[in-house]
């Protein structure tokens, strides 16, 4: 699922001030792929958005892309 990693990376880098500090790791657990997104501390608010709306948008896009591969996924934000 490296292309889904690229999708998360691309979206996160588009949102933050410090794109070089965006890193994405992924883990497989059964049918689910868990993505872990790391961004610079001052950029965390940009990823979450007002009332968590931006984070929810990222999850919606990621889930739609994953559904094409018949996969489920989760996205966690880590410092």
């Amino acid at each position: 699922m490296s292309n889904l990693t690229h999708l998360v990376e691309f979206l996160a880098k588009s949102l933050v001030d410090a794109p070089d500090e965006v890193h994405v790791r992924h883990y497989h657990s059964g049918d689910t792929i868990e993505f872990e997104l790391h961004v610079a501390q001052p950029d965390i608010g940009k990823i979450i958005g007002r009332q968590g709306r931006t984070a929810r948008a990222l999850r919606t896009i990621l889930s739609a892309a994953a559904s094409k591969h018949r996969k489920r996924c989760t996205l966690e934000l880590a410092e």
Binding site: F10, L15, G49, R53, T54, A57, T60, I61, A65
Partner: protein
């Protein structure tokens, strides 16, 4: 050249929006094509075609609305001016607007017939606005929105 009124030209916003959406489509592996144009200096439309239009329009166009929101966040922040984005696929917006008109009128009739408030399903602010507008013409009902965030919905009261 020290013009400050339009710091970013609409041509460059069209290009940026098109680049952003094209990259999103490629990275996401979506079967979609997008065309972008400037409707006026502040309004930009994107129209999607392709096999994954159904994916965009599922669950009341959740993905289409999400892309519209996220593109606004990303392109709007760099454009430094108020941007209005209108994303569409398969003529969804027009068809949905007609559907909302019918829902508003049906719900108003029920509220009047039973003399009881009628609550519609949760909707986005743009959709709630259409309901309020349609029923603002009808003096026999009054509308209000209740609830927070994703759960916000229109209630129609008989007057």
């Amino acid at each position: 050249m020290s013009q400050t009124a339009h710091p970013v030209s609409s041509d460059s916003i069209v290009t940026r929006l098109h680049d952003f959406l094209t990259q999103l489509i490629v990275h996401g592996g979506f079967d979609l094509y997008v065309s972008v144009k400037a409707e006026d200096p502040h309004t930009f439309s994107a129209n999607f075609t392709g096999d994954d239009v159904a994916l965009l329009l599922g669950r009341n166009a959740e993905l289409l609305n999400t892309l519209e929101y996220l593109a606004g966040r990303i392109i709007g922040d760099t454009a430094k001016s108020e941007l209005r984005l209108k994303f569409d696929a398969g003529n969804y917006r027009l068809l949905r607007e007609r559907e909302l008109h019918m829902m508003a009128e049906t719900a108003a009739e029920r509220a009047k017939r039973y003399q009881k408030p009628f609550t519609l399903n949760p909707m986005s602010s743009a959709e709630r606005r259409i309901i309020h507008l349609v029923l603002s013409q009808d003096p026999t009902v009054r509308t209000e929105s209740i609830g927070d965030g994703e759960e916000r919905k229109v209630v129609i009261h008989p007057v």
